[in-house]
């Protein structure tokens, strides 16, 4: 996997770093009740296993001369963009064919098939988790994709797969330490991840004091927006439908990740901070302290003086006797 471009502090308190978006919903297959959310499976041979590369769960194909598959919900992709398909695999592929596959579609409903790209898992034993990855270009007409973990021809084996990813190239993300921000300050946000049908626009923005945020968003047509607060217990802005450009003033009472999420096609979204932070944090250097030992030293000196004096006196008296 290529390394990200180095992070830089573009101005005090704003760090520009690079991240790759994983387009696959519930990519670590951890979320779900009886089966992982946003994943579909064949009638037989496909299981949600309590074995994991990270977390607690993975997908399992356990087949004996049979076929089986796991398929994720289709998601939006950009035509012509390079995507890196990844999955961690463990187990034993004894006979037949096992693949990690990405299929490209002309429509979001995944009904108009274009083509597919495969990463074959060679037959063999994988006692430890092994990463399989390859980069593919989305076809020119592609609008959506889905990812499969499958054995399409009669196969035998017990193969686990976990932590799927279909990664974009490195995209800029901002991390904001707002307490250090001079105001006014404005930042254009890039979408950083998708989860179910929501698009999250900021990876991590942290502040620790009450603040007012102006969120300006423009939809291509109509869209909806919500802002989820840091502790995931309430919305700072409930889901609101809007058209064109609109600005929402949001009170943000501190501590955590500020996450605007949108549904629908968005031209841009910006954050601005119209008022100074209400309680700016100050960090004046802490001076070196002093360790006082002079009392002990003085005591030792006096004790030495008294003791030495006594001994000296005694020695002299003894010698002159």
């Amino acid at each position: 996997m290529s390394a990200p471009p180095p992070s830089v502090e573009v101005q005090p308190g704003v760090v520009l770093s690079y991240g790759r978006l994983n387009r696959i919903p519930n990519s670590s297959v951890e979320v779900g009740v009886d089966f992982p959310d946003d994943w579909y499976h064949s009638v037989s041979g496909a299981f949600w296993a309590d074995v994991a590369h990270l977390g607690f769960k993975s997908l399992l194909l356990n087949v004996s001369d049979g076929v089986a598959d796991w398929r994720c919900k289709a998601f939006q992709v950009l035509a012509g963009m390079d995507y890196t398909l990844q999955a961690w695999v463990k187990g034993e592929a004894l006979r037949g064919e096992f693949f990690i596959t990405v299929r490209w579609w002309r429509d979001l409903a995944a009904t108009d098939f274009i083509s597919e790209d495969n990463i074959p898992i060679p037959l063999g034993s994988y006692p430890d988790w092994k990463l399989f990855e390859e980069t593919f270009k989305a076809p020119a007409e592609a609008l959506a994709a889905d990812v499969l973990f499958r054995c399409p021809t009669p196969s035998t084996g017990k193969v686990y797969a976990d932590d799927f990813a279909l990664l974009t190239s490195w995209l800029p993300q901002y991390r904001i330490c707002i307490e250090q921000q001079p105001t006014p300050f404005k930042l254009t946000l890039n979408p950083v991840e998708t989860y179910s049908n929501a698009c999250t626009y900021i990876y991590e923005a942290l502040q620790f004091y009450p603040l007012t945020v102006d969120l300006t968003v423009r939809a291509k047509d109509s869209a909806s927006i919500e802002v989820f607060d840091a502790d995931h217990e309430r919305f700072l802005l409930p889901r609101t439908d809007f058209t064109g450009e609109q600005t929402f003033r949001v009170r943000w009472d501190g501590g955590g990740v500020f996450e605007p999420r949108t549904v629908g096609e968005i031209d841009y979204i910006t954050l601005s901070f119209p008022f100074p932070s209400e309680k700016p944090k100050t960090l004046s250097p802490v001076e070196f302290g002093e360790v006082e030992t002079w009392k002990y030293s003085l005591l030792a000196f006096l004790a030495g003086l008294a003791g030495g004096g006594g001994i000296g006196y005694g020695v002299r008296r003894g010698r002159t006797r």
Binding site: S7, V8, E9, V15, S17, N22, S27, S28, E30, V31, L54, G55, F56, D163, R175, C177, E193, Y195, E204, L206, A230, D231, H232, E233, G255, G256, V257, K281, L283, S284, P285, V286, F288, G289, E290, V291, T293, Y296, S297, L298, L299, A300, F301, L302, A303, G304, L305, A306, G307, G308, G309, G310, I311, G312, Y313, G314, V315, R316, R317, T320
Partner: protein, 298 residues
């Protein structure tokens, strides 16, 4: 405060892996990490030079060599090989360990103004939770809660599903690093508070309300198996349920860093180095005066 002798026994009797000639990460995990054994090497150079030699000889055979070297080397003043924290993470000032190591770097380089600022960052992270049983101080940095206020099991599922940074609670190794910086900053009062808290996380320590009888939850059959070791973190129950990935075992890294801090404190607070010269001077002068006085009288 912690008992260094017990901690060393935990390392040598419980975690030492004779076959791999290194320390295992913790009870129940057989990884012999380079980073753990590197910190152990720094400790053993003082307490068991023969073992330190063994560790040094085997560095390259440990897991993940040499990950961690360019960071922990500052613990013994190696400014040449140290990777400065701003290069590790541009907003390093939000992470206590990165700040503490950067403090040590500036201190060893004699850059006192910069060291002062690092210490200010650290002091801003010092908290005293009201709900901890007994008095204690902890470090609360960004990693403690990764930006969240409280947690639910749903949050944890979401964090895992999305591959988000995981909260780590109040870690004890960061407190040990703060203690080291505090002593260099002549703030032995702060170091003392840190080390008193650390003592409360030493398994089997009579001063520890939490672990004086060991850890029957984690090790019901042998609660005192980690006796002497320092637990990795405290999870504040006010945040919500403890994350499923936090095991809260006593491990090599935390125990070794705490030993280093405690050793430095015990040596640093010893008054004898500054007192003995004055005692000798006093004795010499007194002897001379007494001798002279005795001659006059005779």
């Amino acid at each position: 405060m912690m008992d260094v002798k017990e901690a060393l026994q935990f390392l040598n009797n419980v975690l030492w892996d004779e076959a791999r000639q290194g320390y295992r990460e913790c009870v129940g995990r057989d990884y012999v990490w380079f980073i753990d054994n590197f910190v152990a090497w720094i400790v053993m150079r003082k307490y068991d030079p023969a073992k330190a030699e063994v560790l040094e000889r085997n560095f390259k055979s440990y897991d993940n060599y040499p990950y961690g070297f360019s960071r922990w080397c500052i613990l013994y003043g190696d400014t040449e090989n140290f990777t400065q924290s701003p290069k590790v993470l541009p907003d390093y000032m939000r992470y206590a360990d990165l700040v503490a190591l950067q403090y040590l770097y500036h201190w060893y380089k004699g850059e006192s103004e910069r060291a002062k600022l690092m210490y200010a960052y650290l002091m801003n992270m010092l908290v005293k939770p009201a709900n901890f049983p007994g008095d204690a101080v902890f470090i609360e940095d960004l990693a403690t809660r990764v930006g969240y206020k409280t947690f639910t099991d749903e949050t944890y599922k979401w964090i895992l599903a999305m591959g988000k940074p995981r909260p780590e609670g109040h870690t004890l190794y960061k407190l040990a690093l703060l203690a080291m910086c505090s002593m260099r900053h002549n703030r032995f009062d702060v170091a003392k508070q840190c080390l008193e808290t650390i003592g409360k996380f030493q398994v089997g320590n009579p001063q520890s309300e939490l672990y004086r009888n060991g850890d029957p939850n984690l090790f019901p059959e042998n609660p005192l198996i980690e006796k002497g070791g320092i637990k990795t973190e405290w999870w504040n129950p006010d945040y919500g349920p403890k994350p499923p990935w936090l095991e809260t075992k006593a491990n090599v890294e935390t125990t070794c860093l705490c030993i280093l801090a405690q050793t430095e404190y015990s040596e640093g607070t010893s008054i004898w180095p500054s007192v003995i010269p004055w005692l000798l001077i006093g004795t010499a002068l007194g002897f001379g005066a007494g001798y002279a006085f005795g001659r006059k009288k005779s």
